[in-house]
């Protein structure tokens, strides 16, 4: 049975409502109304907002799904997002190595060192990697040429056959530090007694990782998986700059993501109806994928248990 609030209690609680109203208003104004407008415009033919929108129903959706460019951008988005998940095992591997150093200055040094790329501006990273990954005299090719003993001139970001690999190298370098840090924090929260007991029982280092570390870090992996997929699905800046300031996904459209398609039809070729339809499709995909992830991994259940 609900307890009735006294007038004094209600008055006391009311003082917090202005704070709540402000954030709710901001949420409505800056999130829900734009979202609603996006849904609305996806059903209209809009070249210039405010200058004669025409209702076209679901035609924009039919159009974008009829465009090989859009279908390819969905494919590119998912391939790049999944390749980008390599940051999780790489971050885990690094975390294990760094954790093995024991607590001290050396660990701090590597922790900061590997996290540094995360705080460098994306644009700088891309410009730097343009030099590292270029076909002619690029650092990666020089390195590979030394290893394989023959000249390698792969255009990692200019050749359509390799561009996704190049883009993934860049992504992993930029994001591995974050993954390492989360993995490390999770790794260090595992009680040391478990490892000691396993060692006494004769478990090998690999078995300790396999049967203790990995199962106990499941929620960490799930978190990284969900956030990694979401950020991977919304990749834009690095690919835009790598594509020579074009949203066409250069080379040959192989790096055009859904977000770049949306940008192209918003700013290069203003057809807001098409871009809004693309935005809704992206929203549905991200939402559905996140829900499946959450359901399959029991991410929210774990949170509740905690």
């Amino acid at each position: 049975m609900k307890k009735k609030l006294s007038a004094r209690q209600i008055k006391k609680q009311l003082r917090w409502y202005p704070f709540l109203i402000l954030s709710v208003l901001a949420l409505v104004l800056f999130v829900y109304i734009p979202m609603g407008k996006t849904i609305q415009y996806s059903l209209y033919d809009v070249s210039i907002v405010g200058f004669g929108e025409k209702f076209v129903g679901l035609k924009n959706y039919r159009t974008i799904f009829g465009q090989s460019q859009f279908v390819r951008s969905i494919f590119n988005t998912f391939v790049l997002a999944f390749l980008g998940l390599l940051t999780i095992p790489l971050g885990f591997f690094l975390a294990v190595l760094i954790n093995g150093l024991g607590k001290g200055k050396l660990q701090s040094f590597f922790r900061i060192g590997f996290y540094l790329p995360n705080i460098i501006t994306g644009v700088s990273v891309v410009l730097m990697f343009a030099v590292v990954l270029q076909g002619n005299g690029g650092l990666l090719n020089i390195f590979l040429s030394k290893i394989f003993g023959r000249e390698i001139t792969i255009g990692w970001i200019s050749d359509a056959r390799y561009s996704k690999i190049g883009a993934t190298i860049l992504w992993c370098w930029s994001n591995m530090g974050y993954s390492m840090l989360i993995n490390l924090a999770s790794l260090q929260s595992i009680p040391g007694e478990l490892y000691e007991a396993a060692t006494v029982d004769g478990a090998t280092p690999w078995n300790r990782i396999r049967y203790i570390t990995i199962p106990l870090m499941r929620s960490c992996f799930t978190f990284l998986l969900v956030t990694g997929v979401i950020s991977g699905l919304s990749r834009f800046t690095d690919l835009y700059i790598m594509g020579k300031n074009s949203a066409a996904g250069i080379p040959s459209g192989t790096l055009q993501t859904i977000l770049m398609y949306i940008y192209q039809f918003s700013f290069d070729v203003p057809q807001f109806g098409l871009s809004c339809a693309g935005a809704i499709v992206l929203f549905v995909l991200v939402f559905a994928f996140t829900m499946v992830n959450v359901k399959m991994t029991g991410f929210l259940n774990d949170e509740e248990e905690v």
């Binding site: 210039i48 460019q69 300031n245 074009s246 070729v269 203003p270 098409l274």
Partner: protein, 459 residues
């Protein structure tokens, strides 16, 4: 006699009334007593220069700010204040749209392309034939926002021009024992020369490259070469009907494929950095390794060469000529510009027109354009440029004097970035692929065709 007299009186009255009408119209349009602020919004030179000017990091030249323009304008028209708001090039169109919707814009800088937001200027030009004669060129667009697509409508007036000019390295030509071409050279001549000079320089022993295809590090400008070669071969891609649906697009014709093939062949004579579009160098320096370059920003290139004391090493020449069609023999140049347009929601359209005329022809404004390292839109301005550049300015004057007006815009039979979807981006992408050698001319044509057809399906 009486009839003659009455006729004369009536004629005089008619003439007087017409003149009075014209005069009153002028007076009403430009009421010097009305005080208000004329608002300019958009990207371009005014914004780049800023209020107090800029410093060119390569040449070390200081260039003036737009305070010069404001001072001069307010000296001429003290009742009208100027307010200039810059829009960065990234997403400038949406920034201008938002400003126009708020009703705060009179002159749209670089607005010729925003056809739904700007006034058609043909009537203004017709009413001002002296001014029309004064300038080199206007900006025209084909748009259903104003007319049908068979009509090219003037939507903007440039205040700076950036014609595409070739820069030939005399030293490399001499080292290979090859004579410089004359102004009637063709794209095939350029290719042939480029092929001969791609290799090891017989004198210096250094690697040289025949040509630098322009803008390989900027996908948004990579279409320049296609437009020029297409105009040279008269490879008509767009045939305009009244609407987009009535128009036809053909990127797979024999001539279009010939254009793509030329770009691919030129690409084989480019340096690896150009082919890949990474770390592309444009400056004319003593370390130059490329026999033929072409790009806009001719004034900047001249200044670079002068600072490096190598201006005598480079010959400035118009791009190869148009080989077929009504303009055969003229340079197949492309010309960029900074233009101005009248916002169609402006309450001061006549003043906006006055400002456009001022910006393109006033001696102080023209000198400001030159001081900023740009080519003005009036022949008198080019005389001043000639005083600075000497005979190197001949390439500019020939290009500007002979180039058809409609070649300066996006509504030719060779290129259109307004009505047919992502033409610029896709053409940029296939051009980069062609120069890099990762696609064929036929595939490039098919990619363009498919992209546009899929876009037109939404219409």
């Amino acid at each position: 006699m009486k009839r003659k007299m009455i006729s004369s009186i009536l004629c005089a009255a008619l003439a007087a009334s017409l003149l009075a009408g014209y005069g009153s119209c002028e007076a009403a349009a430009l009421d010097e007593s009305e005080e208000f602020t004329l608002r300019l919004m958009g990207p371009g030179l005014l914004g780049t220069q800023g209020e107090n000017g800029a410093l060119d990091m390569v040449t070390g030249l200081e260039t003036p700010g737009y305070n010069v323009i404001i001072d001069r304008w307010e000296e001429l028209h003290p009742n009208v204040k100027l307010e200039i708001e810059n829009a960065p090039w990234d997403s400038w169109q949406s920034a201008v749209q938002a400003a126009v919707l708020s009703g705060d814009v009179d002159v749209v800088l670089h607005g010729a392309t925003l056809t739904a937001l700007v006034e058609p200027l043909d009537e203004y030009l017709a009413a001002d034939p002296e001014y029309a004669e004064q300038i080199y060129t206007t900006e025209t667009r084909r748009t259903t926002d104003i007319n049908d697509l068979t009509v090219a409508t003037t939507t903007g007036i440039p205040y700076t021009l950036s014609p595409m000019i070739c820069y030939l390295d005399k030293q490399i030509f001499e080292d290979y024992g090859i004579e410089l071409p004359d102004e009637n050279w063709t794209w095939s001549d350029m290719l042939s020369l480029a092929q001969q000079m791609t290799g090891t320089d017989p004198v210096t022993g250094k690697q040289t490259y025949g040509v630098q295809v322009d803008s390989m590090d900027n996908a948004n400008n990579a279409f320049f070469t296609f437009q020029m070669v297409a105009s040279a071969y008269d490879a008509q891609i767009f045939t305009y009907g009244k609407t987009v649906e009535d128009s036809t697009v053909d990127y797979t014709s024999e001539k279009a494929i010939k254009v793509f093939q030329m770009i691919k062949d030129l690409g084989e004579c480019c340096s690896p950095t150009v082919r890949e579009g990474v770390n592309v160098a444009y400056q004319l320096t003593a370390e130059n390794d490329t026999a033929i370059r072409y790009s806009q920003n001719v004034f900047t290139h001249f200044n670079e060469a002068k600072v490096g004391e190598v201006e005598d090493r480079f010959v400035f020449m118009p791009v190869p000529v148009i080989e077929e069609g009504e303009h055969a023999g003229d340079p197949s140049s492309f010309k960029g510009c900074n233009n101005m347009a009248i916002c169609n929601t402006s309450e001061h359209k006549d003043w906006a027109w006055e400002f456009i005329k001022f910006m393109s022809t006033d001696p102080v404004a023209v000198q400001w354009v030159i001081d900023c390292g740009q080519i003005p839109n009036v022949p008198e301005g080019l005389d001043t440029v000639r005083e600075i550049m000497g005979d190197k300015a001949d390439a500019i004057s020939r290009t500007l004097e002979t180039m058809p007006n409609e070649f300066s815009n996006s509504s030719t039979a060779y290129y259109n970035n307004i009505n047919f979807g992502p033409v610029t981006a896709t053409l940029g992408s296939v051009t980069l692929d062609l120069v890099k050698g990762t696609t064929t001319a036929e595939e490039a044509g098919q990619t363009m065709q498919t992209t546009i057809e899929e876009f037109l399906a939404s219409k």
